[in-house]
């Protein structure tokens, strides 16, 4: 029984860690700007494309990886300055639509550059290697991902709780106007948020695409949506919540893909039901359920509506 479930669990933990790294970007931006940054999944995809092109030009990995992360952070910064900053006083719907516009633009730019074809992600030694755990083969990245995710999250939580910029971030997310009155440079706090979020998405993209090997312009939308669902699930605005949510969603999704097999092996059913059809839909069903039962998510703070 356990040996049947284990491979799915491993896949789930691995994909969950990658969703977590994307979800942090969503949850931080939402915490501060109350904006669903629909373009975040595409930033993640662009990081993958950058890696493809940079390594194709013959740059060694120890340069290309930091370069990709730096460029991704810069893209996040630029997007905020160009597309969100001018709309700061506009209605919230406008800025969300701007995010959709950015997502559309990034996808089309990549479509144009790549010609709409799958690009092979360069294989990174060590994390691409195959290992065997408890009889199940998997890639090293499966083990590296959760560890790296946890290290980065702990570092991030430390940053938020124990540094000046972290304090400013917390203040801004509590009350935008008041923190502005208190002399916090709102714009730089927001920029830092975007830089951190995009950087983590960049790390996530390296892990994700090492595992799944090809990048195309739409690669970012589904992981992006699921990461967002994870952020909502965990309680949007909460970093630990996003991470827990991401792992839950990653694991559930993969277990569902294997549910037919697990049930057959356990002798509960004899014919397949085609549950795999719902592996994406299930994520959203989970979201709707959690929103109805506990609208603020697992770790979300209760918000008071102001008139």
């Amino acid at each position: 029984m356990f040996s049947t479930v284990l491979p799915y669990l491993l896949s789930g933990v691995s994909v969950g860690g990658q969703y977590a790294l994307i979800a942090i970007g969503y949850t931080m931006v939402y915490g501060i700007l109350r904006l669903i940054n629909f373009a975040h999944g595409d930033v993640f995809m662009v990081a993958g494309i950058l890696m493809v092109y940079i390594s194709a030009s013959g740059v060694p990995l120890y340069i290309s990886i930091p370069l990709v992360l730096a460029l991704t952070a810069a893209i996040g910064f630029a997007i905020e300055r160009v597309a969100y900053k001018p709309l700061r006083s506009a209605p919230r719907m406008s800025i969300m639509i701007s995010a959709i516009g950015v997502s559309y633009t990034l996808q089309n730019l990549v479509l144009y550059i790549t010609g709409g074809l799958n690009q092979f992600y360069p294989s990174i030694p060590f994390i691409s290697d195959t290992v065997t755990i408890g009889g199940a083969s998997t890639r090293m990245v499966t083990i590296v991902t959760p560890i790296l995710t946890l290290v980065l999250v702990v570092a991030l939580v430390m940053l938020i709780n124990h540094t000046k910029i972290g304090m400013a971030m917390r203040a801004v997310s509590k009350d935008f106007e008041t923190s502005r009155l208190m002399g916090i440079k709102i714009n730089s706090v927001i920029s830092v948020t975007f830089v951190i979020g995009s950087f983590l998405a960049g790390v996530g993209s390296i892990l994700y695409f090492t595992n799944y090997s090809t990048v195309i312009q739409t690669s970012g939308s589904m992981p992006g949506l699921k990461a967002f669902v994870a952020a909502v699930f965990g309680g949007i605005g909460s970093v630990p919540g996003a991470v827990v949510g991401a792992f839950i969603i990653g694991i559930c999704e993969n277990l569902l893909k294997g549910l037919d097999t697990i049930l057959i092996k356990a002798g509960i059913i004899t014919k397949t039901f085609g549950f795999t059809t719902f592996s994406d839909a299930f994520t959203f069903a989970l979201l709707i359920i959690i929103l109805i039962v506990k609208p603020t998510g697992l770790f979300g703070e209760k918000q008071i509506d102001k008139v």
């Binding site: 049947t4 491979p7 799915y8 896949s11 994909v15 479509l111 010609g115 709409g116 074809l117 799958n118 092979f120 691409s128 195959t130 065997t132 199940a136 083969s137 998997t138 890639r139 595992n211 799944y212 090997s213 090809t214 195309i216 739409t218 690669s219 939308s221 589904m222 993969n254 893909k257 294997g258 037919d260 097999t261 057959i264 092996k265 397949t272 085609g274 795999t276 059809t277 592996s279 994406d280």
Partner: protein, 386 residues
């Protein structure tokens, strides 16, 4: 105001197009292929075959006059919702005959537009029976899924000697689901068992769970006739999971992208296809020389000069279209449609002759295997249904 402006612009466009067409003897052939999306890579290779054929034979004699062939391309984006406007674009440009498409779903989505305009279409590698069923304007030069599914099931059961298969198809993809259906039918008729037939959602990139399922259910072969975008990922993930069973693919797998992904892995891959490189050396060398002379084309072919079966098929389709134009003696699309029924053409991929409902008579498929050391396709056998 803007609407009026739109109408004026429309009229201007229509007038200018018709004026251009009258200037010299030009016959337009529509190329209805995906240049983007999941099937983009395959569509581009198929288009290359057509373009090469056009460079070999740029003119055609119709009714005693020499016409220059002009290829009009429209990108159907590998999706059934983009196909209608691409088809309409070809229709509005006044093409006499349409070639394509790679992918059965888009062909079926575009089909009614060609039917309404009375334009015949020649499918190149769309293998789903639905493409030519119930109509008289869609033809195809390749074999069909019931045939292909049976060939693969026969090969798996009789030659590979496996009795348990696992099928994997993309959800919402007419081609994948259809081919799996026929494979299952044939495989079970032979006495094999299909342990499970799963579908994955579009855009999925995590295949490890499906491969794990195949292992857990004791499959001896994994049949996944999906687009290149997914097959490459299945190969690399199957390799990471150290699978012992072979992977079995359909005609879409015959691509240098797939072999690129397979190179250096320990996965056994068997596919069936329409044409084997070396089948017509004259075509192979000509095509390679043409590709190498043209950096853009080489990129479209996936970066090297390997001959894809769909390129050979595209080449043949172009000449079939020319034959029909010659026989019709006019560029009128309805006459070309009628003439197509009587075309008998010896192409690089074999003899092409259409039977009701418009399918070429094909009785064999080529089985190839991926040589993971050299990174090339090795010919295995010619497989027929019996």
């Amino acid at each position: 105001m803007k609407k009026i402006l739109a109408v004026v612009l429309a009229l201007a466009l229509v007038v200018s197009f018709s004026a251009a067409a009258m200037a010299e003897n030009i016959v337009k052939i529509g190329v209805f292929e995906p240049a983007s999306g999941d099937s983009g890579a395959g569509g581009k290779q198929e288009t290359l075959g057509i373009q090469y054929a056009n460079s070999v034979q740029p003119t055609v004699d119709i009714g005693g006059q020499t016409y220059t062939v002009q290829l009009v391309t429209a990108d159907n984006g590998s999706s059934a919702d983009k196909a209608p406007s691409a088809a309409q674009q070809l229709v509005s440009e006044g093409v006499s005959v349409v070639l394509g498409s790679y992918g059965s779903g888009v062909s079926m989505a575009g089909s009614p537009y060609f039917a309404d305009a009375g334009i015949p279409a020649i499918g190149i590698s769309c293998t789903n029976p639905g493409v030519t069923a119930d109509n008289t304007h869609y033809f195809r030069i390749c074999f069909l899924d019931p045939f292909q599914g049976t060939v693969l099931a026969n090969y798996a059961y009789k030659t590979l000697g496996v009795t348990k298969a696992y099928c994997l198809a993309e959800l919402g993809n007419e081609y994948d689901v259809g081919l799996c259906h026929y494979f299952v039918e044939a495989f079970e008729a032979l006495g094999g068992t299909v342990v499970s037939s799963d579908t994955f959602p579009t855009g999925n990139s995590d295949f490890t769970s499906y491969i794990n399922t195949a292992t857990a259910l004791g499959a001896e072969v994994l049949f996944a006739p999906c687009s290149i975008a997914y097959s490459t990922q299945i190969i690399s993930q199957a390799n990471a999971l150290n699978v012992t069973f072979p992977l079995l693919g359909g005609d879409t797998w015959d691509s240098n992208k797939v072999i690129e992904a397979a190179k250096g892995t320990n996965v056994k891959i068997y596919i069936d296809t329409f044409y084997q490189e070396g089948g017509n050396p004259e075509f192979d060398t000509g095509f390679k020389a043409w590709l190498n002379a043209n950096p853009d084309m080489l990129t479209n072919n996936g970066g090297n000069d390997m001959v894809a079966a769909v390129s050979a098929m595209g080449y043949d389709a172009y000449f079939v279209a020319l034959e029909a134009l010659k026989a019709a003696g006019t560029t009128d699309s309805k006459a070309v449609n009628t003439a197509l029924w009587n075309v008998d053409y010896q192409g690089v991929s074999g003899e092409i002759k259409f039977a009701v409902p418009g399918d070429a008579v094909r009785s064999v498929a080529y089985i190839k295997t991926a040589n993971t050391t050299t990174g090339a396709w090795d010919f295995v056998t010619v497989q027929s249904v019996d």
